[in-house]
Amino acid sequence: MSEQIVPGWELVVGLEVHVELATRTKLFSGSPNRFGDDANVHIDPVTLGLPGALPVLNEHAVELAMRVGLALNCRIEPCTFHRKNYFYPDMPKAYQISQYDQPLNLDGFLDLPDGTRIGVERAHLEEDTGKSTHVGGDGRIHGSEGSLIDFNRAGVPLVEIVSRPDIRTVDQAKDYVNELRAILVAIDASDAKMEEGSMRVDANVSVRRPGEPLGTRCEIKNVNSVRSLGRAIEYEARRQVDLLEAGDRIRQETRHWNESDGRTHTLRVKEDADDYRYFLEPDLVPLVPDREWIERVRSAMPVLPAARRASLGAFLGVPAGSAAVWTVVDRGQDEYVLASVDAGGVGERVLVYVQQAFAEAGPNPAVPADGLARLTVMERNGELTATQAKDVLATMLETGSADPETIARSKGYEAMDTSAIAVAVDEAIAGDPAAWGKYCAGEEKAAGALVGRVMKATKGQADGKVVTALLQERRAANG
């Protein structure tokens, strides 16, 4: 393996990812599924687990879960719901309705950008819990003075996506989460924001000597960003290797990642784990998606990000794995880029502008694609410098204008003719003989000071490429 954390040891990681589905209502009731409102406003008898209330399955949640399964190349199976029984104050019924031995989606895979295939064991539906806030102490239940519970999140539909232990490096783990996130957003299944908790990642980490059977794993919880995931896995792997090299054994346990001290800490050992007493949920009937339903969902599936990155990269002649391509596809702006290039835009420039300036613009930017196309053409033709083009684009974004020509004129951006630039270049040489001397002696960096003077004198309107060309011309003449 290319990046062994400790030489001689192999890292083995499996990820369990919980994703909140972007449904209008909850998994088993009509209350809104919405984040960020006042506490306990999206509640009803089912959400609160009041006596006599019964769950009714949300069909849209099933469809979104099926989309997840299809995007991850799973088989969609007839399935059932089980009760997972345990007591916790933010768990209203004292059981979670989840899927157990018959999940909706089985046996798929996800291909990482580097081509590595990570198996997906299952992707099943379940309901979320409420959210506890522990007041006082360090924010955990132990040692707190009291707890507040918000049931808005209780009953929100989740899909739990369980990978096989196929991940071998920290980068693969991060790539898996990034790729999964991109897919979930692209298929409108979830907004998949780790910071807001709509996507939550637990890592099962173990280490072994290459070729040996799997080692004892520890489950790492409370990882709230992709970066933390990398740090947590790396820390945990080193911890396990240290123990093993010291002749100790790994205890199977759940560990809590602490972002501030950069360590994992024991949360509970396996022996203390709850016995969930799973049994078939008698208030629900089996869910049997028929072929027609599955095909209807399949035919409505959009093209997935990996394929979109590949086609955009191929079209523009840039690597599909480049940051610009990734970002643009991630934001759903690839169609826009293609449209702009189709309208005559300069591909490479269009890509860069959309990547850099369209972060807030969404998949359907206000600036018409042909307007951006003409801007890049003006820049290529030397009618605008790069700096001026950026400024014009900023105005276009503010106003949604399709007319870079008028904006450029109103800003007084008309290409300076070369003779005016030449005057400025000669003045710069006269004004800084020391820099000129160094430049003539072959010190290329010294050109910076001279170009700077020209730009200052021309208020940035001189084309940098022309200035550099003039300097080189004069040095050659001088030599």
Binding site: L50, G52, P89, A94, D283
Partner: protein
């Protein structure tokens, strides 16, 4: 005296010849006279009932039709949610809790013009066969107040037997409608699982619970079924079909029907009870039915399977009574201690016993031996019933092995109490309908009930047989 049946009451009120207010006052007067002795109710809602009866009368006077149950007084088992009205399950843990919503059956009854008299007593969370397990004291059998009314819907059965209400609603998980109906001498129906919505019925064992009526007559039971049955989108196990039409079946007679006698029925019923059953077979034969012998070998394992399945589901259903969101809370230094203190104080012994059994049966390492095996028995019983129903249209058994028994006679022996439901439990395990019809008197001159069982959605034929038995018993 106003009519004793719902059919006659509603007809009178709808035609304007009878006032709902008068019907109600007559019932309330009987409650005032005997309720202190009987204790059928946890709560009598006379103010709301009077307002409702007055409204019914006003609507009739205005030319409106308040519905098929216009002015009919109804008692509701206190495990049915009623908006703003305390609903306790006869448990301390829910004392004072007011549901923010009505059960689906309550909505349907209200829409049909019924007048709710009150919430009836039950064995705590419907766990029991005598109503002695109520946290608020037992209900007495109106026919002999030294004896139990049966259970768990003892309060509903007693309310009808004492004419506190014209009809009542109960729930039946293992016999909790049929057995008290038999012991109190009234008709009691456990419909096909899924025929009546469970939305708003506080769950004991979700895969077995079913709501049904108590009435004086088979026709009233048919009328009540027509009102409360039919699909409800709020219950995922509700059968997607319209309300049943059963009154049209009642006059069809039993000529040509095959009445099954289970030859390997578990023994243990008193001789007087068996004599009534024999008389029932004879009466049906006399009306043109044929009696056929069938075997249901797994019938005898029903009780064992039930006492794993029902407690297992109950252990999960009752976990929500944790002191966090509603009902009783006993304060303690930390959450786990609060759970323990609340549940220790809030639940009675029988409820705790079943939570323990159910938790054990579902636990890792024991699941296959107990809960898993019980599920297999459920399938065996279903197979055996299917074979029996290939030969017979309905099956007849005693409802209860005994007549009403004395208070405390089984109190120290849970197993003896569990045996009360030997004949009723198997139908719950397979979801079939069954009903108890009074048929003669057995030991001590107390009423005996005959149970009519039918396959899934076999209510039409079941009611035909019930009507024939009722006719013969006159």
């Amino acid at each position: 005296m106003t009519p004793r049946t719902a059919v006659d009451t509603a007809a009178g009120v709808r035609s304007g010849s009878l006032r709902a207010a008068d019907v109600l006052e007559e019932h309330l007067a009987r409650v005032a006279a005997r309720e202190a002795e009987i204790h059928a109710f946890n709560l009598v809602t006379q103010d709301a009932a009077r307002a409702r009866a007055a409204d019914i009368d006003r609507r009739v006077a205005a030319g409106e039709d308040p519905g098929p149950l216009a002015g009919v007084t109804i008692a509701l088992k206190d495990n049915l949610c009623t908006r703003g009205v305390p609903t306790t399950c006869s448990s301390r843990i829910l004392e004072g809790w007011k549901p923010p919503y009505d059960a689906s059956v309550v909505e349907r009854l209200a829409a049909a013009g019924a007048v709710f008299v009150g919430k009836t007593n039950l064995d705590e969370f419907a766990m029991g066969s005598s109503t002695e397990n109520s946290a608020f004291g037992p209900t007495r059998n109106p026919l002999d107040t030294s004896r139990v009314p049966g259970g768990s819907s003892g309060g509903s059965a007693a309310a009808v037997a004492a004419d506190f209400a014209t009809v009542a609603i109960g729930s039946d998980t293992g016999g909790s409608i049929r057995q008290p109906a038999a012991l109190c001498g009234v008709v009691g129906v456990k419909p096909t699982y899924g025929a009546v919505s469970r939305y708003g019925l506080i769950a004991f064992a979700s895969s077995l619970d079913q709501i049904g009526p108590f009435t004086h007559t088979v026709e009233d039971a048919a009328l009540l079924m027509e009102v409360i049955s039919g699909h409800d989108a709020r219950d995922s196990t509700s059968i997607p079909q319209p309300a049943m039409q059963l009154r049209q079946e009642l006059g069809k007679g039993v000529e040509g029907l095959r009445i099954g006698r289970i030859t390997d029925l578990p023994a243990g019923a008193d001789p007087g009870i068996m004599a009534c059953l024999d008389a029932a077979f004879a009466a049906l034969e006399a009306q043109g039915a044929s009696v056929v012998d069938v075997q249901v070998p797994a019938f005898t394992y029903g009780l064992t399977a039930y006492y794993l399945v029902a407690p297992a589901e109950a252990s999960s259903n009752l976990a929500r009574y944790d002191g966090v969101r509603f009902g009783m809370r006993v304060e303690a230094p930390d959450t786990n201690a609060m759970y323990s203190a609340t549940r220790a104080a809030g639940f009675g012994d029988e409820v705790k016993r079943r939570i323990m059994i159910g938790t054990y049966a579902l636990s890792a390492g024991y699941f296959d031996a107990y809960y898993g095996k019980a599920l297999k028995i459920r399938r065996l019983i279903a197979n055996d019933f299917a074979a029996a129903y290939a030969k017979a249209d309905v099956l007849l058994t005693p409802t209860s092995p005994t007549v009403a028994f004395e208070f405390g006679s089984k109190g120290d022996n849970p197993l003896a109490m569990y045996l009360c439901d030997t004949y009723t439990i198997p139908t719950n395990l397979v979801g079939h309908p069954a009903m108890s019809v009074p048929f003669g008197t057995a030991e001590l001159g107390l009423p005996a009930g005959v149970q009519i069982m039918a396959p899934t959605l076999g209510e039409p034929v079941m009611f035909r047989v019930a009507a024939a038995l009722e006719e013969a018993a006159k």
